[in-house]
């Protein structure tokens, strides 16, 4: 964990006059596996879009591998939330992965056999090779996510960004999914936006809490503050039974006073 893949300094961003992110300082170090957590509307997705260069900051700067974010998006593999709007789109899993290799500068070259075999390799790594020729809408939510990861990984990115990747996967699938990410993390730095603290906690290395401001925690320990931020009122109000039922290996609740 030495050099920074992403370097954010004193960055602020507002949307229609509403501040979304304020004075964010954040470093994503090589090899890290960071979970970005925070309430809805807290600015998690905005942070991803800023890193991807789809939005530009009002103040401060973002550098990705030393370049301005808008010039570095090809170093990043991006896995969006489920592409809901276009579910019935006629496309095979393999063609989705090949989309990851799109280079607008080189047109009309056709899809070389090498592109194809690399795309098949990427699917193979995700255990999705048997489904290469299946239509994307015939796959389950978890399988679709694997295809989207293959699409992101096929260009050998330096950073993998995932936006709520498990929202359409059941609990068992989520555990498998994070196990898979942990394996990928041997080669690539990962930043994942997530809702579910419980599932991620055993796999990630560090946590970034985003709620207008960003707090980075170098360990994967879930603190009381995080808990309060993600599930407001659970500590003071209702008893968080369903969370404890997971058999969480961390101490979550503070001691009785």
């Amino acid at each position: 964990m030495e050099s920074s893949v992403v370097e954010i300094r004193n960055m602020s961003f507002s949307y229609n006059g509403h501040p979304v992110l304020e004075r964010v300082n954040f470093d994503v170090r090589q090899g890290d596996f960071i979970a970005v957590i925070g309430p809805n509307g807290g600015g998690k997705t905005t942070l991803l879009k800023l890193i991807l260069g789809l939005l530009s900051p009002d103040q401060g700067y973002i550098r990705v591998l030393g370049l301005p974010a808008s010039k570095a998006s090809h170093f990043i593999g991006y896995v969006p939330q489920e592409i809901n709007g276009n579910r019935s789109f006629p496309i095979t899993a393999l063609d989705v992965v090949l989309m990851g290799m799109l280079k607008p500068a080189v047109r009309l070259k056709g899809r070389s056999g090498r592109d194809r075999s690399e795309a098949l390799d990427a699917l193979e790594k995700m255990d999705m090779a048997p489904y290469a020729e299946a239509r994307i809408d015939e796959l389950s939510g978890g399988q679709r996510q694997r295809v989207l990861i293959a699409r992101a990984m096929v260009t050998k990115p330096r950073l993998l960004l995932l936006d709520e990747p498990t929202s359409s996967i059941d609990a068992k699938g989520q555990t498998d999914f994070y196990r898979l990410l942990k394996k990928l993390n041997e080669d690539v730095t990962i930043l994942v936006v997530s809702h579910d603290l419980m599932v991620i906690s055993t796999y990630i290395k560090s946590i970034a809490c985003v709620n207008r401001h960003l707090h980075y925690h170098g360990t994967a320990e879930i603190t009381e503050d995080m808990f309060e931020m993600m599930y407001p009122d659970t500590l003071t109000g209702a008893c968080p039974v369903e969370l404890l039922a997971h058999g969480l290996p961390h101490r979550v609740l503070k001691e009785h006073r």
Binding site: S73, H74, P80
Partner: protein
């Protein structure tokens, strides 16, 4: 069937229908997967303003309509990119305003009385040969552009954000696509009418979408299906002496309903068998 083709006007009608099927099969696929059917309707109706403009200022017909349609299309494309959440409303406004301007301008034009029905349903049986040439050129141009930008259009249609990250010039391509659509619509309206344009743009791609595995397959399937509808409709129109444009749409619409019904039955059948105890 063959003896119909001894008439020149029938051969030309058939050619016009087949060319319209090609253009609409390609553009219709993009329209359906990008969910811009409403925008297409907007362009088609707003283009009537161009007809009014052309007659009022005695401009050449194509110059007036294509110019006006391109302008309306560019505004709609900008709105789609900038303010997607209110795009449908603004397109609705341009839709109505364009059409109304056309009618007012035609009212103000002395001596002219353009038949609104022929604009709506076209006059495929009186297509002049010159229009066939223009349509052929448009078909070649559109097919060429779509082949050249195929991967980019695919990425743009499937996942716009991802396309942007991969460096696809999304904005430029989107404008290009909408402009191609405007040209398509104006060309084809001239020949087969506004209603048939919308039908040929939407019905074949929608039917084909479920049975293909790629955008290219969807385009080819839509072209073939459009051709079948056109030929069937023209045959009906000739045999039973009914309006040709409407006949083509009725054929397409019936096919659409039949396919929907069959799909529904197959689906129910599967549920039935899946629910059986073994």
């Amino acid at each position: 069937m063959v003896e119909i083709l001894q008439y020149d006007f029938m051969r030309h009608a058939l050619m016009a229908g087949l060319l319209a099927s090609i253009i609409c099969g390609i553009m219709g696929t993009l329209v359906v997967v990008n969910r811009i059917v409403f925008l297409s309707g907007g362009i088609a109706h707003a283009a009537y303003g161009g007809i009014g403009l052309a007659f009022y200022f005695s401009l050449p017909y194509f110059l007036g309509t294509i110019g006006f349609a391109l302008m309306a299309a560019a505004v709609m494309a900008a709105v789609m990119l900038k303010a997607k959440h209110r795009a449908d409303t603004i397109i609705g406004v341009i839709w109505a305003l364009g059409m109304a301007c056309g009618i007012v301008l035609l009212d103000l034009t002395p001596g002219y009385n353009v038949d609104l029905m022929s604009y709506l349903f076209g006059s495929i049986l009186t297509v002049p040969v010159s229009d066939l040439w223009i349509m052929s050129a448009a078909a070649v141009l559109i097919a060429g552009l779509v082949v050249f930008f195929y991967k980019d259009l695919l990425a743009l249609s499937y996942d716009e954000e991802f396309a942007r990250i991969r460096g696809v010039p999304v904005r430029t391509l989107y404008f290009m696509m909408i402009c191609m659509l405007a040209v398509t619509i104006v060309m084809v309206i001239q020949v087969v009418g506004l209603i048939l344009v919308i039908a040929l743009l939407t019905i074949p791609p929608f039917i084909v979408e479920k049975y293909v595995k790629s955008l290219a397959g969807m385009m080819i399937g839509s072209i073939l299906l459009g051709m079948v509808f056109t030929i069937g409709g023209l045959w009906l129109s000739y045999t039973y002496d009914i309006t040709s444009g409407a006949a083509i749409i009725v054929v397409a619409g019936c096919a659409f309903l039949v396919v929907q019904a069959i799909d529904r039955l197959v689906h129910l059948g599967r549920l039935h068998f899946a629910g059986r105890p073994r």
